[in-house]
């Protein structure tokens, strides 16, 4: 993917529910709406507010423009959480969206996503955004350092999170359905799928799962590593594409969940 990193942030924001992205960007950068409503044929605009500063604003107060846009976006969309940042052109005017948004004292988590527009690309932007969201929203409910994870109660099915699917991803919607069904057959429940379909409140309970399934490491790898370090959740390394890899994936999931998957593997043989 060759788009600039803020498009990656948009993919994460658009995949989620109850999250809003305020982007310091000129009018010319608002073309990104098109990607989501035309290419992915979404029936809603992405949850992105652009400050749409114009050339004449550059001599004036673009910072004030950002604050107004963030305040109005909060009032209009009432999100559970907000991410703020700048597009490529927006980053050049150095207005510090994070600091400006904090000054508004909104009653929701506001997470600044700092994306180096000229060094990084779309996937990196998506991974960084998802990681910052997970840190900020799941962080408060993480166990204190040094505490060991309680073992799964007897009789409860193992659970995992499905991490990585986002808006504008190639067949991500289909992959979620397919992998959720496969995990169900193995006796594993999905705790949270994220970012696609998740709310900020859902991210807060990522730690409840026993392990993580990382479907797209280019988006969820960084967040999954953090979850492993912070709450002892292991994650899958195998990408279930093709028969061989899917069988390896089933075996890996069986190991992480501590269940016997041979019955399913055998039945797939026939």
């Amino acid at each position: 993917m060759k788009a600039p990193p803020h498009v990656g942030a948009m993919r994460v924001a658009t995949g989620m529910k109850g999250l809003h992205y305020v982007l310091h960007a000129p009018q010319g950068d608002t073309y990104a709406d098109l990607l989501f409503t035309m290419i992915e044929r979404r029936d809603q605009r992405p949850p992105v507010t652009y400050t749409t500063f114009a050339a004449r604003d550059l001599g004036g107060d673009t910072a004030e423009l950002f604050k107004t846009a963030a305040q109005e976006a909060y009032t209009r969309f009432q999100p559970q959480a907000m991410i703020v940042g700048a597009s490529c052109t927006g980053s050049l005017i150095q207005d510090d969206p994070g600091g400006l948004a904090r000054a508004l004292n909104l009653p929701i988590p506001v997470i600044a996503i700092d994306l180096p527009a000229y060094q990084r690309k779309e996937n990196w932007g998506a991974a960084e955004t998802f990681y910052q969201l997970v840190r900020a929203l799941a962080g408060p409910s993480m166990p204190a350092p040094g505490t060991s994870k309680p073992s799964r109660p007897e009789g409860r099915r193992p659970t995992c999170n499905l991490l990585g699917p986002s808006a504008l991803g190639f067949r991500h919607r289909d992959d979620i359905a397919e992998i959720t069904q496969l995990l169900g057959k193995l006796g594993i429940d999905v705790n949270v799928t994220a970012p696609m379909g998740a709310t900020p409140a859902d991210l807060a309970r990522l730690g409840d799962a026993d392990f993580n399934v990382v479907l797209y490491p280019e988006i969820a790898g960084q967040a999954a590593s953090w979850l492993q370090r912070t709450c002892d959740q292991p994650f899958t390394k195998t990408i279930p594409i093709g028969v061989t890899a899917t069988r390896a994936f089933i075996a890996e999931v069986g190991d992480l969940a501590g269940i016997d998957v041979n019955a399913v593997l055998d039945s797939e043989d026939r």
């Binding site: 000129p26 009018q27 050339a55």
Partner: protein, 338 residues
């Protein structure tokens, strides 16, 4: 001859002229202030006369995509040669489809108006000249910078409606006819058959579109002349006419013909515009591609504004085609519902 190369994301609407290479200057370069104009000048000196390299701003921090055409044409004006003295000539300004250009040329020939040239010309080696005896007519309504550049060269703009619909095309041609001393009788003799044919062709669409309401989101800068055509020739009701930028002087003739009390808005506040559109529930919304699917999902029939820029719509022969662009989404919606 080499043809156009444009390198940019935002200035997608440059003009195609063979033999000319435009170097656009999108938003980021605008902020970084990379000096493309000097680079273009140096390259031009090296490659002229085979290829001329011009610099223009296709910056997305300006208004909207049709501004790219304006900036592109404005960058060409200083390179145009001066005409021989005392020869009054007509210049048609704004990119037109070849077929439309040919039709207009035939009408001007029949009226005895000439010499007539077009900016942009089809080929870089046949670019028009411009000077104090040049009278020009705008074929597109979004060319404010080009007009300034032409006026600096001493050319005079003929104020007129834009050539959309029968009324617009008639007024546009008549403005040139008057400037070149063509009598009304002669004008009618030449143009009446095409006018009557266009009116007949439009009649069919009056039944389909008359009384329907339309909401124009600001996008292409064609909104105002389009609204005038839709309300006066097809009997449509204008819920709101949005335009990214309003040039009151170039739009004076158009604005005078919009219905009294029409809701005219300038600039972009897309969330509020969407609120008003949802509240009004128009029969058709004309909007940019990014809004079309969400509006369709809410049950509002849409027309992509960009189609109006890339379809030949000017002149008598295209009047009915223009009406059909608006009838088609309604027919599609009716079929889907049935």
């Amino acid at each position: 001859m080499m043809s156009l190369i444009v390198s940019s994301r935002n200035c997608s609407h440059a003009v195609r002229i063979s033999g000319c290479c435009f170097w656009s200057d999108p938003a980021r370069r605008k902020v970084i202030k990379l000096d493309l104009s000097r680079a273009a000048l140096r390259l031009s000196q090296r490659f002229v006369p085979q290829v001329r390299i011009l610099n223009y701003s296709g910056s997305g921090i300006e208004t909207t995509f049709t501004q790219g055409e304006d900036a592109c044409l404005a960058s060409l004006v200083p390179t145009l040669s001066s005409p021989p003295a005392n020869a009054t000539s007509l210049l048609i300004v704004g990119a037109l489809a070849d077929v439309v250009e040919d039709q207009f040329r035939r009408v001007f020939d029949a009226l005895g108006i000439g010499p007539v040239s077009f900016l942009p010309a089809r080929n870089a080696s046949s670019m028009p000249s411009v000077g104090q005896n040049t009278l020009f007519l705008l074929a597109q309504p979004f060319l404010a910078d080009t007009v300034s550049a032409l006026e600096e060269r001493g050319a005079q703009r003929l104020a007129a409606l834009f050539p959309l619909g029968v009324e617009g095309t008639t007024a546009w041609l008549w403005s040139a006819a008057q400037a070149f001393g063509v009598s009304r009788d002669q004008f009618d003799r030449v143009t009446l058959p095409a006018r009557l044919r266009a009116e007949r062709a439009l009649g069919r669409y009056c039944d389909q579109l008359g009384g329907r309401s339309i909401f124009l989101f600001p996008d292409s800068q064609l909104e105002i002349p389009m609204a005038r055509f839709l309300s006066r020739e097809l009997g449509m009701t204008l819920t709101e006419v949005g335009t990214p930028y309003l040039h009151r002087e170039h739009m004076a003739e158009e604005l005078a013909l919009l219905p009294a009390g029409v809701c005219l808005t300038e600039g972009q506040d897309v969330d509020r515009q969407l609120d008003r559109c949802r509240a009004a529930r128009p029969d058709i919304a004309v909007c940019g591609l990014g809004l079309a699917n969400p509006l369709e999902a809410e049950g509002i029939t849409t027309k992509w504004s960009i189609e109006l820029v890339f379809t030949p719509i000017q002149g008598f022969e295209q009047a009915a085609d223009l009406a059909e662009l608006f009838a088609r989404p309604l027919i599609r919606r009716a079929k889907l519902v049935a």
